[in-house]
Symmetry: C2
Subunit: 326 residues, 2 copies
DNA sequence: TTGTACGCGTTATCAC
DNA sequence: GTGATAACGCGTACAA
């Protein structure tokens, strides 16, 4: 920057002002400086900038690759969410720091924040980290969470109306006269627990409805498939199934089919996320849609408010059921 | 850091040495300083560190969200690749800067590099950016590319043996006596073009084999499905189909089935990537496997070599066919 | 509208 | 083994 100043016959601060679009500089000198800067391929050193401003202009996005790795991917859903966040951060000229290593306890988040590597955090899914999140809220560090939105959450959470999603599935089962329901998913994840709760709520007041649960430790397709194979062999056959994702729905359909248990003839099925292949799967999968398109933008907006020391309220996104063949 | 130095009764450089595991410091003072640092929740300011060292300890990973967004996701494949890269970077204590905005021409990459926001780039897929990549190589900026590995590439590329992948599919079709083949994919992407070339190579010397091509502009599931519906209605029916991904294979199977054209009875099909659902799809999909598990580590290793001013050679990863029902 | 002087928090260099 | 000092490149007071 010194060089540019010298070449342009101005002082260093003037160059700085030009580069920051300061109105305090005459059009003439601005153009002059800009031209010289461009000609010399000059780019502002972002680390010096960040040091001086005590701002990283950078947001850490934490996602549990562990439970998504090596075939452990639940659904393209998370990926779409990430794409949305990436885009929203671009617009605000914030860098996206993806899943920095070693974030296991609160102190790790605090350290990263204090080291000015990130101004805030976006956590994708509460997972089984409820206690961590409560502590994090107490640490007064800017962060938002995608996942379950519950009344007394001490932090800003954004997510779909998972309770409604579950209830929609249950109401459909009930309208169809189904009696033996099966919920498939890992209820250690609060957003998935909410879906199960919604399902249960829909069954309330009706006699004779039994809800089984097929618990899973991960979102992996293969695990879901294997557990579904096992389930159908050792338990009463359900006449209605509600899965935590469309990919899981496909796993269940395949597993059950091999045991001669077919949808839609033998059981109804509702998936989650409305991923594109669901519409053309055989049979076409009935599912609950989450609005990923706006999710990223909302998460980023809330977080940036908190970074600017304001408070942000949790938000629930609309949810609806897409009825297809199953 | 001044504070810590004062509290520990040592000088600032000593604190720095302790925090950097320098061997030049006595065990006693090290423990003392560490304890004080921890007690005060001290974390080294990374921006100051980066400024001083002229190193970002950070790698930008560029992926084309555009062609993966809003249902445009081809396959969980890219996601697995990303997970592998993330893990490999963690090990080397490098930050992962995800898809920084505005990287459209060489100057943008150069600017980001000069601004010391990233020490290097990992590009996922050449896409249609061949010219850009050649220019980038000339700009002497550390970067590696996941995608097609071809003889005269002027930069370091890492990828599967796409030519072999295509040939394996072709050889299978030929052994089965298939005559009318169809390739489905966007050959603007060099790695996909290689697969098509491998398929063609396998047909060589055989009389009467016709290879049609269903060109696509994106990797989106829905586009693939729609184009497949259109194709089967307006073109001769293929007795062998080779798709650029397993997800695309599912789209084609669904589309063709609605026209009464069934696999494996009416045509053979080979997909790509061996994603978990392929094994249990109905029918189970024959596919080409890419070794994503080691891909991330190799990309990162090569790139770090280049960051350290060494040169790195392109590498081709092993590839094999998984034969299933189709 | 522009320039001068300083400090952000770290590490490298040298001396002790 | 440890300490003093300077410098990395920028933005911000304040003065002109």
């Amino acid at each position: 920057m010194d060089d540019i100043a010298r070449l342009a016959n101005v002082s260093k601060p003037t160059v700085s002002r030009v580069l920051n679009d300061s109105p305090l500089v005459s059009a003439k000198t601005r153009d002059h400086v800009l031209q010289i800067a461009r000609a010399n391929g000059y780019a502002v050193n972002r680390n010096a900038q960040r040091l001086r401003q005590a701002r990283a202009h950078s947001i850490a996005v934490v996602l549990d690759f562990g439970s998504h790795r090596s075939g452990a991917i639940g659904d393209p859903f998370v990926f779409e969410l990430l794409a949305g966040i990436s885009e929203a951060l671009s617009v605000r000229r914030q860098d996206l720091l993806l899943s920095p290593p070693g974030l296991v306890e609160v102190a790790d988040f605090v350290d990263l924040y204090r080291s000015r590597a990130a101004d805030g955090f976006i956590l994708l899914g509460q997972g089984a980290r409820g206690a961590l999140l409560r502590d994090l809220a107490r640490a007064a560090i800017p962060f938002v969470v995608w996942g379950a939105v519950e009344p007394n959450t001490p932090y800003c959470a954004v997510g779909s109306d998972n309770l409604l999603g579950g209830r929609l599935a249950g109401e459909r089962f009930r309208a169809m006269g189904k009696r033996r329901w099966l919920f498939v998913g890992n209820t250690d994840h609060p957003e998935i627990a909410l879906r199960a709760a919604g399902l249960r709520a829909a069954a309330e007041g009706a006699d004779g409805i039994v809800i089984d649960e097929l618990r899973l430790d991960s979102m992996a397709y293969s695990l879901t498939y294997e557990r579904a194979v096992h389930h159908i062999a050792h338990h009463p056959r359900p006449d209605a199934v509600f899965t935590f994702s469309d990919t899981a729905a496909m796993a269940v359909i395949s597993a059950f089919r091999e045991a001669g248990h077919l949808t839609p003839d033998d059981y109804a099925l509702v998936g989650y996320n409305n991923i594109p292949p669901s519409a053309h799967f055989t049979p076409a999968i009935t599912t609950i849609e989450q609005q990923t398109d706006i999710a990223g933008a909302i998460l980023v907006e809330k977080l940036m408010q908190m970074v600017d020391r304001a408070t942000a309220r949790s938000a629930v996104l609309p949810t609806r059921m897409i009825v297809r063949e199953t």
